[in-house]
């Protein structure tokens, strides 16, 4: 009897291990690609951040420990860029979420021409950020741009949108909001339409007002999806670079240089490869930290609803 049970256990173990082997066999190509595509660049980034090194000016790589980090973190200009990036992210994400949720809520209702309106609203999102940057640059031209033309035609003074630091921030936020609000609309509409109709019917039976239904049913039920949209927009706005290249070039002065703009400039214009790597590591740590906090909140939301 015991011999039989031993044999059965052995057969079971063999079956399990061959199953694990098969799982590993299937996963290994993907794992290898991931290691090569993600782990290796991150490892290189961290490694190069400890060197004084330029990929273009081929002098010897000099190990300098944490000096790149010390230099960057003691540079007041970097903190100015973080502050600017923070302001930009806050304005953009707030506007995009508010407008996106409002429009998404309207678009969940069935009305004639809804699909055409929906498709038209998605168009800005399909453009490249550089194209959007140039488009807005021409529209905001102080002398012959359409925006100032409209202001002037209703008796308002022309604004030097891209030549003044504060105005340039709002100009960039407007361009980013124009481009990315459709993304929030897309997700919000999908989330709102996914809420079962029976819940609304029950609320109506109980005499719930439209405002009550929106704040107590629609928003909470759509919260996990909206939160994902928020996370994606936060991360994406934080990395914004190409829009600024085309729209302001980082100016006036350094007023509209985001942290990502500084990374790209340090890496590919200055070719301070070591310093750029250190800056990218700092940015990576911040984004990972931010994402982890938000994902934890998302999990809590998921458990609640």
């Amino acid at each position: 009897m015991s011999t039989q049970s031993h044999t059965a256990r052995q057969a079971e173990l063999k079956r399990q291990s061959s199953g694990r082997l098969m799982i590993f066999g299937f996963l290994s190509p993907t794992l290898a690609i991931l290691l090569f595509m993600v782990a290796y660049p991150i490892f290189s980034l961290v490694y190069y951040s400890f060197f004084n090194f330029s990929a273009l000016r081929q002098t010897t790589m000099k190990p300098i420990g944490l000096r790149n980090y010390e230099f960057l973190l003691s540079d007041p200009q970097l903190w100015e860029r973080f502050v600017f990036t923070g302001k930009f992210v806050f304005i953009c994400v707030t506007l995009q979420m508010l407008i996106g949720i409002f429009v998404g809520y309207q678009l969940q209702k069935n009305f004639k021409g809804r699909d055409i309106v929906f498709t038209a609203l998605m168009m800005p999102m399909m453009l490249s950020p550089v194209v959007v940057g140039f488009l807005w640059r021409y529209m905001l031209n102080s002398e012959w741009g359409i925006v100032n033309f409209l202001l002037y035609s209703v008796g308002l003074p022309k604004v030097d949108w891209l030549g003044q630091a504060n105005a340039a921030l709002w100009a960039a936020a407007a361009a980013d909001t124009w481009m990315w609000t459709p993304f929030i609309i897309l997700l919000a509409t999908a989330a709102f339409r996914g809420i079962p109709e029976t819940i609304y019917e029950a609320a109506e039976v109980d005499g719930a007002s439209p405002t009550y239904k929106f704040f107590r049913i629609t928003l909470p039920m759509a919260a996990p999806v909206l939160f994902i949209a928020l996370i994606l927009r936060l991360i994406d706005s934080f990395k914004q670079y190409d829009l600024f290249v085309a729209l302001t070039g980082g100016g006036p002065g350094t007023a509209t240089e985001t942290v990502s703009f500084a990374v790209a400039k340090t890496a590919f214009s200055y070719f301070y490869t070591g310093e750029a790597s250190a800056l990218a590591v700092i940015l990576l740590v911040i984004i990972i930290g931010l994402s982890m906090i938000l994902v934890r909140h998302l999990q809590k939301l998921g458990e609640r609803y």
């Binding site: 002398e143 302001t248 100016g251 006036p252 400039k265």
Partner: protein, 469 residues
Amino acid sequence: MNKPLRTRLLTSAAALAAGLAASSGAARAVDLTFVWHAGTCADALVEISKDYPDKSVKIVPALVPYGPQWHDKIASEFAIQGDAFDFAMWDSQSTAEFASHAVKINDIFDKSEYLKADIFPPASLSRYGEYPDGSGEFFGLPANQDAYGLTYRKDLFEDPKEQEAFKAKYGRDLAVPQTYQEAKEVAEFFTRPDQGLYGWAQMGGRDYDFATTASNSFLWSFGGELYNPETFEVKGYLDSPASVDGVQAYVDMFKFGPPGSTNWGFDEVNTAIQQGQVAMAMQWFYFNGSNADPKVSKFADKVGFAVLPGAVGRDGKFRRQFSVGGQGMGINKYSKKLPELTKFMEWYFQPEQQKRYAAVCQTGLKSVLESPDWQNLNSYNAQFSKALAYLNDYWHLPEYPILLDELQQEVSAAAAGTKTVQQALSDAAEKNERTLERAGYEIKRGETTPEVPDQNISPVGQDKVVPVE
């Protein structure tokens, strides 16, 4: 072997032979890829190259917009020692940065029967290809020369009513200005926002070199300097009283420009010229082809072209100095097609091809530049040839893009009014010195710094205003 099988085998063998022959023909085909910023001159090169007699060679453009992307595309390829392009046009001041990745042109001069240094004006060859300065070592050929110039509304300057009104107000004749002091008065005179007319347009944008190519022209003319190339001092030179005078004069000229022009690039300046919105504009000769073309500009027949003004500095000396533009043609030393490229360049730099190029852009070939045909080809070539005598350039150092960006940040801030000119130039000097020190330059600090740095560094000051007709 039966007959049908033999026929099939013979047919297959013939097809294989034909295939092999075709593939060996295809293997001989060579693509020579070049990087440049998109525009008329790049289009001209492509168009001319279509007539290259060796049809197995094809010139392939890899064009990018003017600005940092153009520099970064070349630099990134050099950084990985790649051969995605075979030759490139880069700014004169980039030669120092790219020299270690470029083919030394002296080697081509030694081997080629036609391509020799003496087919180019020595100053042009030096400007677009020599590194270090005065070394006799070249890493580029003067493919596309350019200079800053003055574009003005002839119809306004020649209007008797305007002439009379100007004389009554300023006590002198209305004429193309020879100094920035005169230009300021003329600009003020024509600034009439109620008529949609402004006196002056210039670049002030933060992008690439927009603001500083313009501000440097003022800075040098007032006797300022970017740095001392012998001691590597920047403080006391870039923010010297004469440099501040120059950049202040540049910033002041925005008062006579269209609102918001502090962030303009060349596109906006061109539009202002082509719409007749400004009486005078500081613009590259490169764009005069379109500004003088009636198909492009409504004011094509009403604009005139001149050499930019100079200035009388605080030491009473007159100087006329402005930014060099244009690009040299350099060869990627990682390219594997040097023999084909050399043959193409020997053909391309022949007078026949360069005459075609000079019809739309500015050639660097001496025989074409010296010919009366070229001088009279259009309304601006004669002025361009005069302008070549007054050119000055940025730092010829490998750290150029960093130094440039630092100066751009500060001059752009001064133009936007967020910093005073003195503060902006002092901050730029501080940053530039830090960059030079990081790169290993030893800054030898002198006991004093000059009020007018040009007096100490390659002086060009003259005792009186020397007009250019």
